[in-house]
Every structure is written in C-alpha cells, then in structure tokens.
C-alpha cells in the first residue's frame, strides 16, 4: 500500500478496491435477480459482502496516514469501529429493522474507544500535553531572551552610549574654550579621553551581547560582516527573503561566528565558505573550510554550539576528516 499523503487520490480508490470487477459482479447479480423474477432483492447482501472489506481497507488506510505513534493506533481502532458499526446498521436495515440491536455493538465499541488511552497507555495523554507545553514554553523563553538581549544592546548603544557621546562632546567643546589655560585644558582632555574609552568599552560589550548589524539587517548581512572581519578568507553564499525569528538568527549567527573563529585558530591558511539557506521551514547553516581537518567535535566550543542549536530542536553535526577540511552543519527549525 502506497502512502498518498492526505489528499484522496480517486484513481487509487477505483484501482485499489478492485472497483471495476466488483461493479461487474454486482451488475451481473442484479441481472440474474431481474431474470429470475425480481423477487426479494438478495443482491444487496452480496453488495454488503463486498462493502465490508472495502470499508475496512479504507479505515486502515486512513489511520495509516495519521502521524506515527500512539495516535495512529488509536485512529486505527476508531476507524475500524466506525466500519463495524456501519455494517451492523446496514444489516439491521436490510433485515427489515425491528428491535434496534446495533445499539449494543455501538455502545461496546464506544466504551472500548473511550477507555483505550487509559487502558493501554496510562499517562500517555498527560505526557503528550506536558511535552507540548514544555516545547512551547521553552521556545517562548528563548524567544524572549533573544529579544531582550537585542533590547539591551539597543539601550546600551542608543541610551548609555549616546549620553556618553554627548558628555564627551561637551568636554571637547570645553577643551576648545580653554585654549588659553593649558593646565585646565589638559585636565578636560583627560576626562574626554576617559569618556571615549568608556564608549569604546560599551561598544565592545554591546557587540558581544548582540551584534548590532544582526538586529538591524538580519542574518546574511551579519554573517557577511563577520566574514569581512575574519582573518581568513571567507565566502558567504546565502539569500533569505524574509527575517527569521530573533532566536533563530542569533543561534545561526553564533554557529557561523564560532566556526569561523575555529577556522582562524586551527586553520589560519585555509579559506572558508558559509552557506545559508531555507529548506522549507528549516534554516540550514553550513561552514566549510579546506583546512587540515581533524577537529574534535567534543571540544568545548562545538559542544556549546550543539547545546544552543539543540535547545531550539535543531541539529548540529561536525564532519572533520584529516586533510579534507572541516564542515560544521546545523539545521534550525523556524517554526
């Protein structure tokens, strides 16, 4: 049985259920019935006989299209139950009605269905709900963290640093006016230089927290900026036509940054290529170099990256073969 996805493929319906032979057989029976006097309409029982396996076949097929896991078996039980109840209803109707006995199989199957998750997998549902909840809150927490870091970077640059710039500018103006008092001017200059040093420190701090160009321009521009600062030759291949969630951008940025730092440290003569692309809802980041290879994937830098990526339900792999270079490959879901 092939998997046809979630859409109904009518060609497979007619083919898979031996539709044509069934139709021929039923037509033949109806002709025989008509020829033998069109008495009690017995061909309907033959039709029912053909309908039951067909119904079961569709029930199983439908259930198999559900996502893997406990849910699929539960769907299987439900769909088979529906077919059985429908069969009972048909038999009841075809045998002339009367006492409504299909109520018994209906109740029995419903009870079995209702008890199933509790009877076979105690706690399963609860666990699924909990996993859902944890996944949601974790990604929420990481999102909040990434946006908060960007806000802090902005506040540092546009708040504290702007004030320090205003201060150093005033000191600069004061220094100009003190041209006739060299001693005082020297003092003011010292103060101004201190302020400038503080501005520089703030800038380094802010960059370490969240690279400004990442927030301003997005991932590709930030990686290009990284590449232009790297001491090895780096080619960036990538085009993303929309911004990704901050948490994904930040993780991808640090994968590129850490990997390029490693290239510069362990393969100073090599050149590297960073590739960024979206594969459906997944962002794929690849940093490949032509250095000596043989990197230790259990090294602290790579372990940290792996944790960062896995916290977002992503995957990170390192392939490093001696004399064949190193490839760091990460895939990150973007919701």
């Amino acid at each position: 049985m092939t998997d046809h996805g979630h859409e109904i493929d009518w060609r497979s319906v007619t083919r898979g259920a031996a539709f044509v032979p069934s139709l021929v057989l039923l037509t033949a029976l109806v002709v025989i019935w008509a020829a033998t006097g069109a008495d009690y309409f017995w061909p309907m029982w033959a039709a029912l006989g053909l309908a039951i396996p067909t119904g079961l076949w569709y029930a199983v097929r439908w259930a198999r299209l559900r996502p893997k896991g406990g849910g699929r078996w539960y769907a299987m039980q439900a769909s088979v139950s529906v077919v059985l109840v429908a069969t009972c209803l048909a038999v009841w109707a075809m045998s002339g009605g009367g006492f409504f006995w299909p109520i018994f199989p209906f109740v029995a199957l419903s009870v079995a269905l209702a008890l199933n998750p509790l009877a076979f997998r105690p706690g399963q549902r609860k666990l699924e709900v909990r996993v859902d909840e944890l996944t949601r809150t974790r990604s929420g927490a990481l999102d909040v963290q990434a946006s908060e870091l960007r806000r802090i970077e902005r506040d540092l640059h546009d708040g504290a640093q702007a004030r320090l710039v205003a201060l150093s500018m005033q000191l600069g103006r004061a220094e100009e006016r003190l041209a006739d008092h060299p001693d005082s001017a020297a003092l003011v200059r010292q103060a101004r230089e201190e302020a400038t040093a503080a501005i520089r420190e703030l800038r380094d701090l802010a960059r370490g927290i969240a690279p400004p160009v990442l927030a301003d321009r997005g991932l590709v521009a930030a990686v290009e900026s990284l590449a232009s600062r790297s001491t090895v030759n780096v080619e960036v291949v990538g085009h993303l036509d929309h911004r990704l969630p901050p948490v994904v951008e930040t993780a991808a940025y640090f994968v590129a940054a850490e990997s390029l730092t490693n290239v510069a440290k362990h393969a100073p003569g090599a050149s590297a290529r960073v590739t960024l692309h979206l594969d459906g809802a997944m962002l794929v980041v690849e940093v490949a170099d032509n250095g000596p290879g043989g990197a230790n994937p259990a090294g602290s830098g790579l372990t940290g990256l792996k944790q960062r990526v896995e916290a977002l339900d992503g995957r990170l792999e390192v392939h490093s073969v001696a004399r064949e270079g190193t490839v760091v490959w990460a895939v990150l879901p973007c919701e």
């Binding site: 902005r154 640059h157 546009d158 708040g159 640093q161 702007a162 004030r163 320090l164 710039v165 205003a166 150093s168 500018m169 005033q170 000191l171 600069g172 103006r173 220094e175 100009e176 101004r192 302020a195 400038t196 501005i199 520089r200 800038r203 802010a206 960059r207 400004p212 160009v213 927030a215 301003d216 321009r217 521009a221 290009e224 900026s225 232009s228 600062r229 001491t231 090895v232 030759n233």
Partner: protein
Amino acid sequence: MEDQALLREGMVALLAENGIEVVAQADDGPGLLRIVDGHQPELAICDVRLPPTFTDEGIRAALEARRRHPDLAILVLSAYVEPVYTAELLAAGQSGVGYLLKERVSEVRTFVDSVKRVAAGGTALDREVVSALIADRDRSGDGAARLGALTPRERETLELIAQGRTNAAIAREMVVTLGAVEKHVSNIFAKLDLPAGDDDHRRVLAVLAYLRATTAQ
C-alpha cells in the same frame, strides 16, 4: 528619544560655535527627507539608527536623500563600525560622503574638519572603517600582493589618505615632514599601480575606487 535629542542639541551647538550654520533638525528618516527637500542644505548629518525601529533607517534615509539630491553631501554617524554600511554609502557616490563613529565628535577640531571636507565634496571615513576595509583587502585576491608590498608606514599613510586627510594633516598625524609624506604617497601609487592625481580629491577617489574594486571581487 531623550538621549538622542540631547546628543543632537549638543551637536547643533558645536557646529554653530565653529561657524557651520544648522538650518534644520529632524528626529526621523521622513523628517530628514522633508528638510533636505525643503531647505536644500549642502550637507546632512544623520545617525544610522533612527526612530521608529532604531535599525538602519538613517542609512536608508541618507541614501534616499542622496538619490533625490545628488549634490547633497552626507555624513553618517554611527555607534559602531559597519563595513556593509560604508560600502553602501560609497556605492551611492564617492564624493561628499562620510561615515564616522559618534565619539569622533568629541575631537572637535578634527570633527569640524571632517564636516567641512565632506560638505566640500570630499570624504571622511572613520579610521576603524578604513582599517577594516584594508584588512579585508589584505587577504583576498589580486589586491593582497600589492597591499602586502606596502611598508607599515606606507600603509598607515594609505589609511589616512583614505580617511580623506591632506598631506599636511597626515604629516602632523604621523609626526613626520611633509616631504616624507609625499614620498610615501608616490610610493603607494607606484606599488598600487595608480596614476598620481593632480589634487587631494582625485587621490582619495582613486584609493577608494581601488579598495572598492577589490571588495567587489
């Protein structure tokens, strides 16, 4: 934003003290464009980050202003060095552009020189931007070998040239004689295979063109 206004007021005072008339101020990108359209100033000074999103509105507004008024000189101030932005500014035209770190405003004399130079159609690139560009060129392709041939003093001179400094200013900065700077400059042009220009302006353009050509490859 209060902090931004503080900075702007200070800047206006500083420029006025140094004989530069400020015709108008604005606090966002559309405001900048309105001023530029209305007052037709010689020069616009703006921050990279402007309201409402504080990302790169300033650069975008500056480029748009430049597109509408090709003669307008533009000086962009930024809290951080970003080679990507410098490249975009230079791509919009190499005369009358500047990109400086904000803290340079505290070196009043140098800053005012930069403002005047940009207004007069020159360039002013922050020394950190220039060294990032040169470091970048250093590693790649054809330019690497040529730049590699420069001595440390010549390289320093090239950085200062790229910032838009005159030979006299370079001599002061490097604490050498004017003659020594002139020698460095002609050596640089010889090693970089550039024809020596007749004036400072063409000289800067040549250097920048060279830097940009090697960036593009």
